[in-house]
Amino acid sequence: MSEAATLTKTVELRILRYLPASDESPSFRSFQVPYSDDMSVLQALQTIKDTLDATLSFRWSCRMAVCGSCGMMINGEPRLACNTFLRNLPPGPVTVEALKNFPIERDLVVSVGDFVKKIESIYPYIIPKEPKTVAQGTYLQTPAQLAAYESFSDCINCMLCYAACPQFGENPDFIGPGAMALLQRYNGDSRDGGQQKRLDAIAGEDGVWSCTAVGICSEVCPKHVDPANAINQNKTNSAFDFFLHYLRKDAAQ
């Protein structure tokens, strides 16, 4: 407490609040927080929860841009709260809202169930081309084969790309950038043989074809995963697959 008293500068946070038990709809509330140079938006929220209003809800865990749980709209842009520092924001009140394009559960907490289902739907694991026993040894990979999918494996499932995607906003069933990045992480892996299964999962309007190459998903991604690239190269794959499936032997089903 005494430490807080010595800090004179404060910053105003305008937070979109929603308590399902009592609020009909979300509305903004302002809080004044003691400001320090090294303070992230997440720390400011924690200060509010600790000292001003214990009912404020938000998700966080790692505080170092690794777990992907603290995504929210900060001054209208999707960002990680732990990775966004007050000193880098323009002076004046900081607006904080729940991640766009997702239903709000409470305050800054959004529903993630649909996103998790999408991830599950694309077989997010390696389906070996040729299964090996332990005795047969490991699967080897060249640096070039690793580079082909490596950036896609950096995704932290923060869903910032979904908040940036207007097509997901209009069609919540669109599989979306993050899940497509994960799909490409496996489809692009030289050890994997599950490409066909995954392509079948993403054909159609709710698959890759909702994307119109807006591209902002890649710009807001805190891990430089480039999900727009994952989606767009799979449009080509999906189009090829559409024509080739007439020729495949297993096309009968």
Partner: protein, 132 residues
Amino acid sequence: MSERRPYTRPIDEDWWKKPPYLSYTARELSGIAVTIYGGVLFTGLFSLWRGPESYNAFLRFLQSPLSLLLNLLLLAVVVYHVVTWFQTLPKTMPKMIVDGKQVPAAKITQIATLAAGGSSLLLILLTMWVAR
């Protein structure tokens, strides 16, 4: 008892008018200029098929100040389309791996833009040589 009552915010219908989406909107709209260019070309072909009189009328229209102004405008918009499209190009193609490393997006954009500029120049020179 669960108090869950997820709140769905209304969709922002005007997203395409606002930054950062405005640049996407401009890129897509500038595609219309490419269509108009194609239209001009087809009109020329059509009048060629109809005979010398029609074709001369088409040429006269091309030389009119109105058409020159229109073409200048179209050219500017098409150049904008080409430049912004090649900025998007790296996002639409498979990763290029050279020597085990990924080729940076900026490099791909640069090469593609140079190739487009170079082939346009070549076409102009060729046309001038044929028409000499």
